[in-house]
């Protein structure tokens, strides 16, 4: 015999009545009007850990009780295997909770480290090479308008660079239309950029920093690698999926939420960016070897770039950088 205290609602108005239901050992429920009903004929709301339970009675009546454990016992006894019970049992055992915790951490780390990049790579290589043409044209126009100026290099040097570039581009499969754009870097300084459709921008400042053809061939091959491995598209895909994944995983965060989502997103995006750069460095190294060029001048160029940046202030710690640390890059390029 179990007694359940609670409120009875008629479902049509907000009026309520404090009542007591009694359930006997055969699972018969005695309603306030004296009628009997089988427990199995009731519908009981699914458990939500310690919260109230609602029993749906005939004629739209509903009964609310706070006697959570009693309802739980009645359910187990008279309706074993009702929906929600198994989940509820898992929630109440720490063993399951710890297992779930472990698997969540593993799945989360694995998904971010391998899953998402692999997925983005597959999608990016399925899309036609022409998807990025429009955006690259717009980006180049915007860069020319706001940041870059026409090149100041002497015509002879321009021709030599073009020849060097043609030699490299000739080695690549014909998917992309590679073009070299020489520009005065302005505020961008010594830099090289690749746009996803095969437009490669090299600044005068970078050429002046290290005019050695082997170093510049290395830089150009690095930028070609970004195009060929579709890093731009992969980055776009990964960064559009990332915040969505984080929000889905952590649930609806408000107030402090934006910072809490933005920070991990930034760190993970930087991680992805560094692995793209590593891929491009390895590709550049292979190309230099194929052309019988020496990687040493490229290493020297990296060192000078580093010295250049150091003048600008504190370098960022490795985990905040978009590129791997220079020590690591030098190591990669001089390894074999």
């Amino acid at each position: 015999m179990t007694e359940l205290d609670g409120y009875l609602y008629d479902g049509r108005s907000s009026a309520r009545r404090a009542v007591r239901l009694s359930v006997d050992d055969d699972g018969r429920v005695r309603l306030p009007d004296g009628s009997l009903l089988s427990w199995r004929a009731l519908s009981v709301s699914t458990p939500a850990a310690g919260g109230p339970r609602f029993l749906e009675l005939p004629a739209g009546l509903r009964f609310e009780t706070a006697q959570y454990p009693d309802v739980d016992r009645l359910e187990r006894r008279f309706r074993p295997g009702a929906p929600g019970q198994r989940l509820h049992r898992m929630e109440s055992r720490w063993r399951w909770v710890l297992l779930a915790l472990l698997l969540v951490i593993l799945a989360g780390a694995g998904g971010l480290r391998y899953g998402l990049p692999a997925l983005a790579k597959t999608v990016a290589f399925r899309l036609p090479a022409s998807v990025s043409e429009h955006s690259s044209r717009q980006t180049l126009a915007a860069l020319d308008r706001w940041l870059l100026a026409p090149t100041q290099l002497p015509p002879q040097q321009q021709q030599r660079l073009q020849a060097l570039f043609d030699e490299l581009a000739g080695l690549q499969p014909a998917e992309f239309d590679y073009r070299l754009h020489l520009r005065d870097g302005g505020d961008l300084g010594a830099n090289a950029l690749a746009l996803p459709s095969g437009q490669i921008i090299l600044t005068d400042q970078l050429v002046r920093l290290s005019p050695h053809p082997d170093a510049l061939a290395g830089v150009l091959a690095h930028e070609i690698a970004h195009v060929q491995h579709r890093h731009g598209l992969r980055r776009a895909l990964q960064s559009s999926a990332l915040p969505l994944l984080i929000v889905t995983a952590t649930g609806d965060l408000n107030a402090a939420g934006s910072l809490l989502v933005a920070l991990p997103t930034l760190l993970i995006e930087r991680h992805y960016s560094r692995s793209f750069e590593r891929e491009a460095d390895r590709f550049a190294l292979r190309q230099l070897q194929d052309l019988n060029r020496d990687p040493a001048p490229l290493v020297k160029l990296l060192r000078r770039l580093e010295a250049n940046q150091a003048e600008g202030g504190q370098p960022l710690p490795d985990w905040l950088r978009t590129h791997p640390g220079n020590a690591e890059r030098r190591h990669l390029l001089t390894a074999d």
Binding site: S13, R16, A100
Partner: protein, 344 residues
Amino acid sequence: MDSTAPVPRDCGQAATRRLSFEFSGDSREYFRIWILNLFLSLLTLGIYSAWAKVRSERYFYGHTRLDGSSFEYTASPISILKGRLVALAVVLLYSFVSSQFPLTAPLFAVAFMFAMPWLVVRSLRFRHDNSRYRGIRFGFDGRYPRALIWYLLAPIGSVLTVFLAYPYVACRQQQWLVRNSRFGDARFDTDLGTSSVYGVYIVGGGIALLGIVLQGLAANFIPAGAGQLLLPLLSVPFYYLAFVFVDTQMTNLTLNHASLDEHRFESRMETAAVCRLLITNTLGIMLSLGLLIPWAKIRMARYRAECTGVLFRGEPDRYIQTREAEQNAFGEELGEALDIEVGL
């Protein structure tokens, strides 16, 4: 907990009872629900997340009691799942198209601006319709044209007045929210006045201004160089404080001026306490790499419930259920994906 003690029946014409909301959620208990939700969502590639949301909302609603009766969240996981899928498609399309065709971004931005009030309406309607107390549903009757005026056109217009008219707009937003909310067949009402809203915004603006002034003064004492770069950090805490102050005090004002027939509401949240909660929650979540999210959510819910109360005059027992059409969750889910948060 013994919340089933017999309730005094209508003793006298209008006995006034002051009752606080009670929240009985427990962070360890909710942690277990949360982690299994997360696990099953990952296992099903996110499909379970709709069920997870219902489970977690039901936990918070169920553990919120007023006068011995608890609240119920009745949304169906399937309609939330549908909403999420559409929202996901829209967000993916947007972020991909705008990254590939940067010039389309402004077009999207304009489209979203006009869709935002619609999302506000849909999301309020979904949430209200799926909330029940004493077996009776809440409801929301606001419509797009008004939402467009108070959530898009008027805020844009207030820019022309150097934001001097903004508190007026904020006041009208709150009035619109409250007056369109229903419990069963009865509308909520409010006597919120513009002057008290101006009071809140003037103090909030003053706090932010103080941050700017301090930063300006400090700029004279710090030598040029790396130190100057850190200067903006000086005013950020003031902006944050101003934001929390306005948010907290507006919630208080809105509830303190709201009524349902002869019943009134009250809210006594304190800015300092909310700040303390937000800061410790943020630190906890960061240091635990997210594992303290359930703890943070429970603490916030508990504080809000403790500070909110109702002044009942007589028994709230004559509200009648109205029939409702099934709402789909698209608006609410897209709104959530875009971080739109409106509510009472």
